[in-house]
Every structure is written in C-alpha cells, then in structure tokens.
C-alpha cells in the first residue's frame, strides 16, 4: 500500500510536529486542502498569501519552530515572495509549500504557471521542484532540516498537481544526513581561547548581539558571560530581547536610530564582540569609521557573514550557545570598572527621550504606555518606519522572541500578519502590533483572518497621516519637500500645506474598517485617553484596532544620517 503525495505531505507535517499552517487555496493545491479538511493540523485561512508567509514567519520568530505556509501555483506562489524575502533576510526558519501545474505542462505557459523556484532562488535558503513522487518524502524531510538548522531560512517546495495525486511506497524518513550540507555548530576552542585572552586584556569591551543570539537560544549564556566579565551589551533591532534592557549594562539598540550611549560605546570600544550579527549598514553607518579603535571578534554560525563587511580579528565560526558555553568556562574578567562607570554616566546624560506634550499624543508616549500597561509582558510586532523605531526605543525588551520585526528587508505590512502568527502560537499572551497608518494598510485585509480565528491581536496604529519615516528624511535632507508621503493628500490639496489647511477626511476611517471586519475599533485623540484605551483593549478578548492620532511631524531621534559615521548623530532634542 502506497500513499499519495498529498498524504505524504500530511504525514510529514505531523511528523515534523507542525501545529499550524497558514495558507490560501487554489486549483493546484486542492488535493492538499482536501487532506486538511479532516486533519488535526490547524489551518489558518489568510486573505492574501503575503499574509500567510508573514504569519508563518511571526509564528517562527515567536516560537523558534518552523513556520509553514501554503499557496497555490502562479499568483498564489508569487504572492509569497515578499514574505520569503523577509524571512530570508532575517534568517527565519520557514517551509513554504506551493502548488504547480502538472509536470507534463511545466514550461508550457500553462494556466497559473509561474517558475517559482526560479523566482525565489535568491530569496530562499533552498528550494525544490518535485518531479517524482518517490523523491517527495526525502525532499520534505530535507526542507524542514535545512530551514531549521545552521543559519536558518525559508525553504520552498514546488508541488506539481500530479505529484500530489501520485502514489509512492517510499516512507517518510526518520533521520537525515546530507553530504552537501553539514553546518558547523561547534566553535573552535583555539579561537574561543583567543577571545578569552582578548577579553582579559580589554579595557573598554562591548558585546554587539544580533538575531543569531535568539536563534541560538543563548540568552542565558550571554547573561552569564556579562555577570562574569561586566561587559556592556548593545543589540541590533533583531537582537532585541536577547539581553534584558532593564540590566544596568544594557546599552539598548545601536545604529542609525540606536541610543547615543550605545553608539558612543561602539566608537570608543577597544574590543567589539559581535555575536550573531552581521554588520549591516543600518548598524555600522560609515563602515570605515565603525569601532575605529577596536579589535573585532565575531561569533557566527555562517562563515560567509564573517569578514564580509569589515575585517575581523578573532573569527569564531559556530553556534553562539556552544561558543559562549565554552567561553564561560575559561573567561576571566578584565578591568572594566572605569568603562562601566563611563557608560553609566553616558546613560544618565543622554537617555532616550522625547519632548512630551500636554494634549497632543506623542507616538513615543503610546509605546511607553504599552510597556507600562502590559508590565513589559507582551509580544510586540512592528510595522516598518518610525513606528518600528519607536517600538524599539521606548519599550524595554527583556525576553527572547518577544520582539518581531522585519529588520533586513524592512517590509511594510509585516507586523500585523506576524502578530497573527505569534498569537496562534501563544493564544493566551498579549500580542501587540505597533503599526504605522501606511504599513497597516498593506495587509489590513488580515483583520478577517484575526477575527475569524478569534485571535485577540491588538493593533496600535501610531497614526501620523504620513509615511512618516520617508517624510522625516524629506524634512531633514530634502528641504521638507513631502513628495508622495502624505497619506491624506487629496486632489485639491496644495503643495506645502500646513495642518490648518489639511482636510479632516479620514482616509481610511480605521475604526469603521475595524468594525467592518467585526473587530473592535477605537480612535484616541487625547493623551489622557491613551491608558484607558489600552486597558480596555487588553480586557476584551477580541481583535482590537486602536487608532492613536499622534503628532504628525514627530521625528525619530537620535539619528545617524545614512552613510555617515556613528559619531555624526543628530540628537534632535536639545
């Protein structure tokens, strides 16, 4: 007795302990959907395939497990592309299944045919087109293994319709070994020793931790290292939560919108220890002037991340957890007392701050209140733009996998479906999407998904009426020429409008949109209503959209202009 391709897929999902699949049907996957009908695997019907990919990504980031999405051939598959690229840039384990026209028709420009393995090759860790059902069990096994091991990433499997129907006797493998793919987990002890010696000697060391720390699950080891050595820690956007920001040695985030004290520390450090981070240009600014006085140590599981953007003096290839465990066994503290004192003073002198207002709601204020009202115990996803940076700056992240954000690709529309994915994984947790009015509209249709599946996600729109981050660049670097960034611009609007001349039409009326989807909608104009609104939103078990009408032209500071050295920070408020 054999099994059909579709049955093999179901068996694989069960054996890989997949509990949730996010997807959208179509002719080329109807056989798989037929299997899902009576399955114990929870299927979440999204309203756009991009939403499925981001939801699978959010699920994966929140849990560390492989996120799974499913789409039909052609347009269904191409709609996944942004989600795959988002996951790829941030090393998120994902398996995307998509239908394809029957093998006999591939290459014929058949109805809903797209060369999806060709299209997604540069944005997946690996992909497969299955042309023989006997290969299917091995392919799915490999896909889950590749997605979740080494430096994780999305893997796509293209499944022609006839393969889903064809029968095979090949069983689903229990274990896997690939001659061409064997990631290195163990850090070389010689390199770890070198790093330990450098730490002993360093006077002004800094740890710069990225998303790899969370993937590796090495936060306990990091805390132990810091306790042993008194080295301050700054994180990237993706690293938020890998080290408690309430810790006296936390420098919060570095880079373009990082804290002043983090950026000062990096400019002054004599030993920069990068762990699972990749020296992205949003982090380093002008690379030639990044950490100019430092020896650079780099721990990373991906050898190609090392010495890609700048020369590394102490490379350690391996999994962060393994390397830190080895390091913690032998490390001895250097004399960092004076350095820690300098940092303490910087933190006092240059705190992350904003000019509050008595009436108008400042977006930063909303984020601070979300932190306070939730007691910091919430999963926060973000959209992209100013909202994302304020969410990073004004919430204190203390737990790994608490912060979900598209860092590498910067995908507007990521946050809401990602929040849905996280809520699926943790039905009892508070999940907030801190959103921009622009970004939220990119996947606003997923309100239906949230409502239908009774997912009580809370969307907090920081509604400034602008594509705020782009507007900020235009204000600072393009003489305030707000070209294409006003979301309320109507046909009759004049150039260089001011708030007085601006019409009062809400485009859209987010409250009505929410209500149109049977979610709860709230609009908050006044500062004193922020906390009550948040409290009410948390109390209800329904999907809530909070439209916080905030200061329109608020800017994100500090800011290092693109391509400038981290020294050239604009502090904004003086």
């Amino acid at each position: 007795m054999g099994k059909t391709g579709a049955e093999i897929i179901m068996e694989a999902l069960r054996k890989e302990k997949v509990e949730a699949v996010f997807g959208y049907p179509g002719g080329a996957v109807i056989d798989i959907f037929d299997m899902l009908f009576n399955s114990d695997i929870n299927f979440y019907l999204v309203r756009h395939e991009q939403g499925a990919a981001h939801a699978a990504d959010g699920y994966a980031r929140a849990t560390g497990k492989v996120g799974v999405c499913l789409a039909t051939s052609g347009p269904g598959a191409t709609n996944l592309v942004t989600g795959l690229a988002t996951a790829y840039m941030d090393s998120i384990p994902m398996v995307a299944l998509c239908g394809q026209v029957p093998t006999s028709m591939i290459g014929n420009d058949a109805f809903q045919e797209a060369d999806i393995t060709g299209i997604t090759r540069p944005v997946t860790k690996h992909n497969y087109l299955v042309k023989n059902v006997d290969e299917l069990p091995q392919v799915i096994k490999e896909a889950f293994y590749i997605a979740s091991s080494g430096r994780p990433g999305p893997v796509l499997i293209d499944l022609p319709k006839d393969i889903q129907k064809a029968v095979t006797k090949v069983p689903y493998p229990d274990t896997i070994k690939m001659r061409s793919y064997q990631p290195t987990y163990e850090g070389h002890i010689k390199q770890v020793e070198k790093l330990a010696q450098a730490i002993k000697k360093a006077k002004r060391p800094v740890i710069y931790a990225g998303g790899g720390m969370l993937i590796s699950g090495a936060h306990k080891e990091l805390l132990e290292l810091v306790d042993k050595t008194n080295i301050p820690v700054t994180t990237t956007l993706l690293g938020l939560g890998c080290f408690p920001e309430t810790h006296p040695l936390s420098l919060k985030m570095l880079g373009m919108h990082g804290s002043q004290f983090a950026n000062y520390a990096v400019m002054e450090t004599d030993l920069l220890i990068s762990i699972g981070a990749r020296f992205d240009d949003r982090v380093t600014g002008k690379i030639d002037e990044f950490a100019p006085n430092a020896k650079i140590a780099h721990i990373d599981i991906d050898p190609s991340a090392i010495s890609k953007n700048l020369t590394v003096h102490i490379p350690v290839v391996g999994d962060a957890k393994d390397v830190l465990q080895k390091l913690n066994k032998i490390v001895e503290p250097g004399d960092t007392a004076e350095w820690c004192e300098t940092i303490r003073k910087w933190k006092e002198q240059y705190p992350l701050a904003y000019k509050d207002d008595a009436d108008i709601i400042k977006p930063q204020y909303v984020v601070e209140k979300i932190y306070e009202v939730t007691g910091g115990d919430a999963i926060i996803s973000t959209e992209v733009g100013q909202n994302q940076m304020w969410a990073a700056q004004f919430f204190k992240y203390t737990h790994p996998r608490q912060f979900l954000s598209s860092g590498g690709l910067g995908t507007m529309g990521y946050g809401f479906p990602a929040a849905i994915g996280a809520q699926v994984a943790f039905p009892d947790k508070l999940v907030f999407d801190i959103a921009g009015d622009g970004s939220f509209q990119m996947n606003i249709q997923e309100l239906a998904t949230a409502v239908c599946h009774e997912l009580p996600v809370k969307v907090a729109i920081l509604n400034n009426g602008y594509l705020g981050m782009v507007r900020q660049w235009q204000e600072l670097f393009y003489s305030k020429r707000y070209s294409g960034t006003c979301l309320l611009k109507e046909k009759g609007c004049i150039h260089n409008c001011d708030e007085k001349s601006c019409g009062s039409t809400l485009i859209p009326d987010f409250v009505k949109v929410a209500e149109g989807y049977s979610a709860v909608g709230m609009r908050i104009f006044k500062k004193q209503d922020v906390v009550p609104a948040l409290e009410e939103a948390i109390k209800t078990k329904r999907t809530v959209v909070m439209d916080f009408v905030v200061a329109k032209e608020e800017n994100v500071f500090p800011m290092v202009p693109a391509g400038a050295s981290l020294r050239q920070m604009l502090s904004g408020i003086s």
Binding site: T117, G118, R121, P122, K125, H126, L129, I146, M178, R179, S180, Y181, D302, P303, S304, S307, K308
Partner: protein
C-alpha cells in the same frame, strides 16, 4: 586577479542556475565556467575562473559553500593544479596561407578538423596561456568563428 575555483556539486537540475545566480546577484565576475559529470555520476564538477581580489575570492568561496547543493569547494590560490581548455577556431585560409596555419597549429599539437578551399577549422587544447598564444598567432590570418570551453582544472598530487 584571476582565480580558479573547483566546485563539486550535486548533479541535480537547477544547480547551474544557483551558482550563476549567486555570481550575478552578488556582483562577482565570472571569466569562465565549465561543468560536467565526474567519476561519480551523482556529482558534477564546475571549474570557475573569477576575477577579483582576495576578499572577493574569500566571499566567493564562502558563498559557494553556503549553497545547499555544493559538496566541496576548492580554490587553487595556494594549491598547485593542472589545467586545460579546448579551443576550436574557424580561420580564413587559401592555398597560400594554409600550410603556415597548419605549421603553427602543429607546434601547439593542434588538430585540423576540417578544410575547405576558403576555411580551415583547428582544434587545440592546453593551458589558458597556451591557448591565448595560439589565438594571437593565428589572429592575423583572420578568425571567422571561435569557441573556447573555458578552463577545467584538478589539484596536483
């Protein structure tokens, strides 16, 4: 700087596209790329000549290694290796030039594949340098068409 890289890959469809895509996507320059089956039919060997400094070569190496279907990458920066490539050339020739061309080809252990009253087709193999010299010597006679395979290489020893 030119570097020769030898890459053992799984003999699967799409592998060539992955390697080519890697080079174009990351802005590496390929001088030549050859691919063919090895003694083990489940694996192919690609020989790639890339142009770039040491940092580029290091990234090429690492990025190739990152491809799932790549089994082994060997760069011949330090190891000594043997290399060969094949060229086939169609030249103008008439009764006056024919014997000169044949003589030059002989020196390079070339073979005459075809002769007509107007053309002659020559085949030669050797290192890239040697093939280059042959081409230079024959260019004055007028090369009508030419095909080079690109280099294949194996480590010595």
């Amino acid at each position: 700087m030119k570097h020769t890289v030898s890459v053992l890959v799984e003999n699967k469809s799409g592998v060539l596209a992955r390697v080519a895509g890697l080079f174009s996507g990351r802005g590496f320059n390929i001088d030549s790329l050859t691919v063919g089956e090895t003694q083990d039919p489940s694996m192919s060997r690609m020989t790639i000549v890339v142009n770039g400094d040491d940092a580029v070569l290091e990234q090429v190496n690492k990025q190739l290694n990152k491809l799932i279907d790549v089994v082994k990458v060997q760069d011949f920066k330090t190891a000594s290796f043997v290399e060969a490539e094949l060229v086939v050339m169609k030249l103008h020739s008439n009764s006056k030039t024919r014997s000169e061309i044949v003589q030059i080809a002989d020196i390079f252990h070339g073979k005459i594949l075809d002769v007509t009253d107007k053309n002659i087709i020559i085949e030669a193999t050797g290192t890239t340098d040697k093939v280059d010299s042959l081409i230079n010597l024959l260019r004055p006679y007028g090369i009508k068409e030419m095909a080079r395979t690109g280099k294949v290489a194996l480590a010595k020893g």
